[in-house]
Amino acid sequence: MTVKVQREDFDPGAEIARLHEGRSDIGAVVSFVGVVRGDSGGDKLRTMTLEHFPGMTERELERIAEEARERWSLDGVTIVHRYGELKPGERIVLVVTAAGHRHAAFEAGSFLMDYLKTKAPFWKREMRESGEHWVEARESDDRAAERWR
């Protein structure tokens, strides 16, 4: 189980390989890469700044990863989340799950993203053409997380 909270970009291929290379008991590796989107109904995003709660962020991501391991039979979980200033098109978050079988890897990956969205202490501030604002939490993310209760 690996959790990283960092300013720098990450390498999805390297993280995928790290979970399964040298092992022959893993049948499935699912990864999710979140990317900063630049569009929003014509009001273009210039940059985004991610604030987080150092210490709690890592602990919360570890708690979420631990919960996924309790629910599914997983051979590995990696979560990398960036903070600081990001531009449209940049990678922002990576979740990788490794398991014997594909459905566990897919479901755990989807679960981790839904939980991360509603539990990990990150806050996005957007600098748009129309001005700056803090991103509002979305009810659809709360509903997505509710699916797993």
Partner: protein, 83 residues
């Protein structure tokens, strides 16, 4: 008691952290939030609508009824928007 503020809660109260003596009668996160709101100014703004504020006690998500004491670190922030 150590208090931390993040995102627009931080901006409204005008600081990212402070250390205070536990206010008289403040036994829960909710009590503390009400006391902070009563300070007025940016605090009154930040805590105007408690439905928009979330809290963590010692780096764990906590609701308004969670107990707090002198040795606790209490953080206030908006609903999270990572991922």
């Amino acid at each position: 008691m150590k208090l931390l503020y993040f995102a627009w809660v931080r901006e409204k109260v005008g600081r990212s952290e402070e250390t205070i003596d536990v206010p008289q009668g403040a036994n829960t996160v909710g009590d503390l939030a009400l006391w902070l709101k009563s300070r007025g100014g940016g605090y009154a703004e930040a805590f105007a609508d408690m439905k928009r504020v979330r809290a963590a006690v010692n780096q764990e998500h906590a609701d308004l009824l969670a107990p707090v004491g002198a040795r606790d670190e209490v953080a206030f922030f908006p609903p999270v928007t990572g991922g």
